[in-house]
Amino acid sequence: MDRRRFIKCVGCGAAAAAAGSNYWQDVLGGLQNACAFEFAKELSSVEARYYTKLETGGIECGLCPRHCLITDLERGYCGVRENRKDIYYTLVYGLPCALNIDPIEKKPLFHFYPGTTAFSLATAGCNVNCKCCQNWDISQSRPEQTDNIDLPPREIVDICQSRNIPTIAYTYSEPVVFYEYMYDTAELGHKHNIRSVMITGGYIESEPLTDLLGHLDAVKVDLKAIRENYYRDYVDGELKPVLDRLVQIKKSGVWLEIVYLVIPTLNDTDDEFKELARWVKTNLGSDVPVHFSRFHPQYLLRNLPPTPQKTLERAHQISRAEGLEYVYLGNLPGHPAESTYCPGCGKILIERRGYQIYQNNLKGNRCKFCNREIPGRFT
């Protein structure tokens, strides 16, 4: 990718997300003028965190529950961390391969400063292998196979400050695999009043997550199913650690939202929707937003149809009946369940169509009609 193409990519993505908005025109104009990004010629060689050297030789990675055992010159499952003579390196520090300025609603985070933007970035690599991945071309690639931009944490924060972008989002692939880069960027961002949000599958060990949460403002977790066999067969991961991390995030006080991608025949039964809603209500609380998202045939699941709207509405209905207060439907632009309703008076609080906000009836973090407090970060 040459520089012109890169500028075009950044511009098109953001423009498509918010056509017609003066605010976006300003942001885009500024970004194009500031496009001095360098394409990296080499991978990074920054020592990774959370690994132990083994007495028998090799190292054990402790970043995610996979605990890869890696000998010299080999990489972990993620493909972006490499053992070189028993020192473990991250190869993607400061080397994102995808950048964009997104509405925060695209993450989706619906209770987190609605209508604001997020400087969104990802590197190559992922620590699972979801058969439905929509970003497989970067998540399932090694960093040698992607066009990487040389963008250290300092430059990200500078861009956000100079363009009035309040939030950095680590997203698209799996930020856990570029943990060190995310951590340092988030830490630096906080020093300059720039927020950070992680969009993740939640497949991370407890200790690194604890350390990271101190520098994050919100986390969106893709809970891919509520059954272990789905994680085994379609994710190549495990459910239990993800559930544990959800509880950990909730307890930390960092804002949490959940997405559940509904895939026809794989995770779309009434029992699963009930089980999910009950688990969320019991372990996280009824006020954690849950987004049921529509599946489109992708990657290794191109044999399945898109999720029928009725299935998503059934998931919505069951979850509401089980007591979840903020249930949304995603990838169904224009559907009423894209909007936020007050659980107290039932009136519309935030009306959304796609990523656009048409009305916002919050007064601070309260419903302006009945004064009920709405969970989230709004002011």
Binding site: E74, S141, R142, D236
Partner: protein, 301 residues
């Protein structure tokens, strides 16, 4: 397979590799190598996949040179129709190969060469899907797998089948459960399976432990080449040699150290080849340093 008598503790040179290749092929086909090679590679380009992950213990250039010479002189293949390849140019260079992506002379290039890269289409066998190097999908018509035999920290054995991990974009997704059934799955991907013609495994100098990175303390010399058109059988024989050298050097069997080589049975189950050593038509020819045959048997040691 062919095995050189004598020459303990030395690198083989190009002439010695050529002796081994010629006699090995002759014994393997039981006839004239020229006719065999011409029928195996009737027309089109031939890709030779090396294993250059560890720059101190790669597929040695003298072997690749000897094979190239044979393909040109005996099989009549155009020099420019031969492509020595790896996943990256850096690995080839570090192993002593001279890169050449031009229209003149033998080509030698990595998948990361500008304009090469990976396929747009997915190939899928088993749980994982992959993009396959365009060297295999577009640039060559026939594939020779030219690995070096060594120990592997996850798979147990690194030989021919493991070498094809270097043909896909996401080899890291294929390492679980001692690479089983993933090594079989990779070799069952259409461009790899359909274009495979020969596996020629360099078992001259074998790293019997602490692989796949280089460990100078774990080297022994077998001085042999394994030649087969059956990728599973070639690896089964390679495993026999590896286990023998491990035992000789006081190392426990791979299964005892948590690295059982399970993927060969999985490969047999999906029809890639023969994993039962007793059912393999094994012919071992010993060659002296002057290239003279010293008898054929089933005895590997």
């Amino acid at each position: 397979m062919s095995k050189l008598s004598g020459n303990p503790g030395k690198f083989l040179d190009q002439d010695q590799y050529r002796f081994l290749l010629e006699t090995g092929l002759k014994i393997f086909i039981g006839g004239d190598p020229k006719l065999f090679l011409k029928s195996l590679f009737p027309k089109g380009a031939v890709g030779i996949k090396t294993n250059c992950l560890a720059s101190f213990n790669p597929t040695f250039k003298p072997l690749a040179d000897a094979l190239t010479e044979l393909l040109i002189k005996v099989a009549g293949i155009e020099e420019n129709d031969i492509i020595i390849w790896e996943r990256s140019n850096r690995e080839l260079k570090n192993a002593g190969y001279k890169l050449n992506a031009s229209s003149f002379g033998r080509r030698c290039l990595g998948t990361d060469t500008s304009g090469v890269g990976y396929s747009r289409d997915f190939y899928n066998s088993g749980k994982v899907g992959s993009l396959v190097t365009r060297i295999l999908t577009r640039m060559v018509d026939h594939s020779i797998n030219l690995p070096v035999l060594k120990d592997h920290s996850v798979a147990g054995l690194s030989a021919g089948m493991k070498n094809m991990f270097g043909a896909v974009n996401n080899p890291n997704k294929y390492h679980g459960n001692n690479c089983d059934p993933y090594a079989a799955d990779i070799n069952n991907l259409a461009p790899i399976k359909d274009k495979h013609r020969l596996t020629i495994t360099d078992a001259a100098r074998v790293q019997y432990d602490n692989g796949p990175g280089f460990d100078s303390r774990s080297l022994d010399y077998y001085n042999g080449l394994i030649i087969s058109n059956d990728p599973v059988a070639a690896d089964r024989v390679a495993l026999q040699i590896l286990e023998h050298l491990r035992a000789k050097n006081g190392r426990p069997p791979l299964a005892k150290v948590g690295r059982p080589v399970k993927y060969l049975d999985s490969a047999q189950k999906i029809g890639l080849g023969e994993a039962d050593i007793n059912r393999i038509d094994l012919r071992v020819v010993k060659v002296n340093e002057k290239g003279r045959e010293r008898g054929v048997s089933r005895e590997l040691f």
